[in-house]
């Protein structure tokens, strides 16, 4: 499954790119599993995803929890807790 993955704030800085198209194995079914799989892709990723509890995610621009199914998602984003306003 090919997915567009976007990163923001310090997750983006640690990974080193703002977005990428990634071929994700079919065994990866949820957002949490995707984060865990990404963490195995190299040191930068391991660093970005070292503390899964502080990583937030969105599927197609809507907030989701780690157990959310990827389903037919086209864009997944990972980012730290938000600090706007």
């Amino acid at each position: 499954m090919k997915l567009k993955i976007r990163y923001f704030a310090w997750v983006r800085e640690r990974v080193g790119v703002p977005e990428e198209d990634v071929e994700v194995p079919a065994s990866v079914r949820t957002v949490g599993e995707l984060a865990a799989w990404l963490a195995t892709r190299g040191e930068e990723y391991a660093h970005a995803f070292e503390n899964p509890k502080v990583i937030r995610a969105a599927i197609d621009r809507t907030h989701v929890r780690p157990d959310a199914a990827l389903g037919s998602a086209s864009e997944i984003a990972f980012f730290p807790p938000m600090t706007g306003g």
């Binding site: 704030a9 621009r61 938000m82 706007g84 306003g85």
Partner: protein
């Protein structure tokens, strides 16, 4: 009833007074307008800061704010809402965010403005980076902001969706 709703994400400064005026111009049913402006402070604790840089998730930022504006208009009898959030580099003293709510009475306008700001802080995809003493660091989310946002959730309701 359709009410005027404006949501903008922009780099440029905004004019809070002009935005508030837009919600009342040419009408006589509005009895209360609450205008909240969030401003960049010149210090964080005792540390002086040079500037803030705000990063956002284009597309999702607008969508998420629009969802909360829709929630606000379903909870309170509002007659107009404007939310503007800036991104990019913002110097101390400059405006960051604007929330304007109009209603026929003040209770709804105050409550809706506070509701919108509580959710902007915790759910709108923006991230602040502080420039101080030549170094940049990301602002950490505050537990107090989560608590402020959670008080609007009815018991048992899933805070994430």
């Amino acid at each position: 009833m359709t009410i005027p709703v404006t949501v903008r994400i922009q780099r440029e400064p905004f004019d809070a007074a002009a935005e508030a005026k837009m919600l009342t111009r040419g009408r006589t049913d509005v009895g209360a307008v609450v205008t909240f402006t969030g401003i960049c402070r010149g210090s964080e604790g005792s540390e002086p800061i040079a500037a803030l840089t705000l990063e956002h998730y284009p597309g999702m930022a607008e969508a998420e704010i629009e969802r909360h504006v829709a929630e606000a208009t379903s909870r309170w009898p509002l007659l107009g809402v404007t939310v503007i959030h800036r991104y990019g580099r913002i110097a101390p003293g400059e405006d960051i965010v604007l929330a304007v709510t109009a209603s026929s009475h003040r209770e709804a306008a105050f409550a809706a403005a506070e509701f919108l700001m509580d959710f902007l802080k915790t759910r709108a995809p923006f991230w602040k980076q502080v420039e101080a003493a030549g170094a940049k660091s990301w602002v950490e989310a505050k537990a107090a902001d989560d608590t402020a946002a959670e008080r609007w959730n009815a018991p048992g309701r899933d805070a994430a969706e």
